[in-house]
């Protein structure tokens, strides 16, 4: 994979959606269901962008419009300046669908080779590129096994490999950790962060908000097809008016003295509590160990 960050600030934006509305016909009496309602969104190049929302909020519909799989009822969507309905717009896009299902009778290598050839990767570089991308997602050990024997985590990995094989500038990941265990999820997050380091733009949807928080630069929240919030993760969830100091355990007397000292300066000690590790971090520290990835692939 690319070692040097690409020109992340190059214009135009990776994705530009203006006034997007998508209606689905419900029955023959021309009743329509509005899945996306006047959505305007810009995903800057080189960022990891999270598209959040409850089920039925319009995330998948928006992604399908971006990929040219659905046509907008009203409005427009451009990918690197090219209208998303055009085949050309997908040249720079890699897509990992939710709960991916691939041709079960192909091996990992054959599957990624198939998609690489569909995307027009040069024959002279095909073998190296496929090996490189399978290695990058950690599937070298299972590359010759049939996809039908893969676990969910491995399916996500081979899905990511096929999405990246033509070296796209934009990677769209629809629920990349759905149904994957915490170790697999953490590995997927690591890969997303690596993609960001390479200067790729990543659009990700997930219900696992803690993961989104860890990897995303910006997020947008959709509800019933409408954009209700958008901004940088730090700005949206950070509490600028407050600070947390983490210190060694203080005796009660010292704590009282600290309260007095703060009060004398017009501040208040809002809370004293014991910091807690996140459960997923605890799980990973106990379960994940060196060589586990290869073990999982061999199993």
């Amino acid at each position: 994979m690319s070692d040097s960050p690409a020109a992340a600030n190059a214009s135009p934006a990776a994705i530009e959606i203006r006034g997007l509305t998508k209606d689905f016909p419900v029955n023959l009496r021309s009743l329509k269901l509005r899945a996306v309602d006047n959505l305007s969104l810009t995903v800057p190049a080189g960022q990891v962008f999270g598209l959040l929302g409850p089920n039925g909020s319009g995330k998948s519909t928006t992604i399908k419009v971006i990929l040219g799989l659905l046509e907008a009822t009203v409005g427009e969507c451009r990918v690197f300046g090219v209208p998303s309905g055009r085949v050309e717009s997908r040249r720079n896009v890699g897509y990992l669908p939710e709960a991916p299902y691939f041709y079960r009778y192909l091996s990992g290598t054959e599957l990624v080779t198939f998609y690489a050839r569909v995307c027009g990767v040069e024959k002279t570089r095909l073998r190296d590129r496929v090996r490189e991308v399978l290695d990058w997602v950690g599937l070298s050990g299972a590359a010759d096994r049939r996809v039908g024997t893969y676990s969910k985590g491995m399916l996500q990995r081979v899905g990511l490999a096929q999405a990246l094989v033509h070296d796209p500038r934009l990677v769209v990941l629809d629920e990349p950790t759905a149904g994957v265990d915490p170790v697999g999820s953490a590995e997927m997050c690591e890969l997303i962060l690596k993609l960001k380091q390479q200067g790729k733009t990543v659009l990700i949807t997930s219900h696992l908000l803690a993961q989104i928080e860890d990897v995303c630069d910006r997020v947008a929240i959709l509800d019933r097809g409408k954009l209700i919030l958008e901004g940088e993760v730090g700005e949206l969830i950070g509490q600028r008016e407050r600070q947390a100091l983490i210190v060694d355990p203080l005796p009660e007397a010292d704590l009282a003295a600290l309260r007095e000292w703060l009060a004398a300066r017009g501040h208040a000690l809002a809370a004293v509590e014991q910091p807690r590790a996140r459960l997923d971090q605890l799980f990973l520290s106990k379960v994940a160990r060196p060589g586990r990835v290869e073990e999982r692939h061999q199993s």
Binding site: M1, S2, S4, F24, K64, L67, G68, L69, L70, E71, V87, E88, R90, R91, V93, Y95, P97, P100, Y101, F102, Y103, Y105, F114, Y115, R117, V118, C119, G120, V121, E122, R125, D128, R129, E132, V133, G159, Q162, H166, D167, V172
Partner: protein, 290 residues
């Protein structure tokens, strides 16, 4: 990834042209998926068994010569199982892509929907081609074996040479293959707007029957005076291809032959319908929401 490779991949700009390579890849994948299906192997085995068993039914030849009976029996098996295979496989392979959502991954690549549709068609056509080749190969072998046996017993009946023209059998087999290609185009057109595999298969069989009986509409068309009745009948007779045109096997086994010009005209007829139905399927599938 090396900078050189990245440059090579990114240097492609402008319009994405229709690609025969992508078409071949999709067709190859479709073929691979089809030959792994139980249905294909089951129908192929049935057809082979039926053709191979034709010699055991020669006592029931209803007055026609034994060789003619074997040829008719063989072509009957080819037409029946070939049509079933074409309709079921085309619908199955199309909807497996949609229902398993592999189409989602594939169509999210820089690929034209026309490449997808014609790739599917080509894959099915190749599968049916294998079916036709095996069935016709077996039929030719069986006829050759029986003709040699009869020649030994009744040499005087073969003074004018062999009765069976094997080149004609291959030619008629090829025309049947083209007919299945037209049928696959029709099924793809139905599948392109249909929501279910079952609807596609049932409608496909209905259309198959209409195409086989379409000549009746053509006959009726010549005898109808009223323009109001004549017009819809005429339209119907052109919308549905006439599958009776492909039945040139009648003269085989009776010493007759198939005229080359007729075979050329029927082939052109099939190719035109394949192009039209394929084009309509692409048009219908173009805006389908995956």
């Amino acid at each position: 990834m090396s900078t050189e490779t990245m440059t090579a991949l990114k240097s492609e700009t402008g319009r994405v042209p229709f690609s025969l390579e992508r078409l071949r890849l999709i067709a190859g994948n479709t073929f691979l998926e089809a030959v792994r299906q139980k249905l294909f192997n089951f129908l192929l085995l049935l057809a082979v068994a039926l053709v191979a068993s034709a010699q055991f039914f020669r006592e029931f030849n209803f007055g026609s010569s034994e060789l003619k009976f074997i040829a008719d029996f063989g072509f009957g098996a080819l037409v029946f199982f070939g049509s079933t295979l074409t309709i079921a496989t085309t619908a199955q392979l199309f909807f497996s892509e949609i229902e398993n959502r592999t189409a989602l991954t594939l169509l999210a690549k820089p690929i034209w929907r026309a490449e997808f549709i014609f790739g599917k068609w080509l894959g099915v056509f190749a599968v049916v081609g294998v079916f036709c080749a095996v069935t016709i190969g077996l039929l030719v072998g069986l006829l050759f074996y029986r003709e040699n046996a009869i020649m030994t017993l009744h040499p005087d009946a073969f003074e004018g040479g062999r009765i069976i023209n094997y080149a004609d059998i291959l030619l008629v087999g090829g025309l049947q293959w083209l007919k299945f290609g037209v049928l696959a185009g029709i099924v793809l057109l139905i599948a392109s707007f249909s929501n279910t595999n079952l609807y596609t298969v049932i409608t496909g069989f209905f259309v198959l029957v209409i195409c086989h009986l379409q000549y009746l509409a053509r006959d009726a068309y010549g005898q109808i005076d009223s323009l109001l009745v004549r017009l819809p009948v005429m339209v119907l007779s052109y919308v549905f291809p006439n599958f009776q045109l492909f039945n040139l096997a009648d003269s085989i086994g009776q010493g007759g032959g198939v005229e080359a010009m007729v075979a050329v005209r029927v082939s052109l007829y099939a190719l035109i319908y394949i192009a039209v139905f394929g084009g309509l399927a692409v048009y219908s599938f173009r805006n389908r929401e995956i």
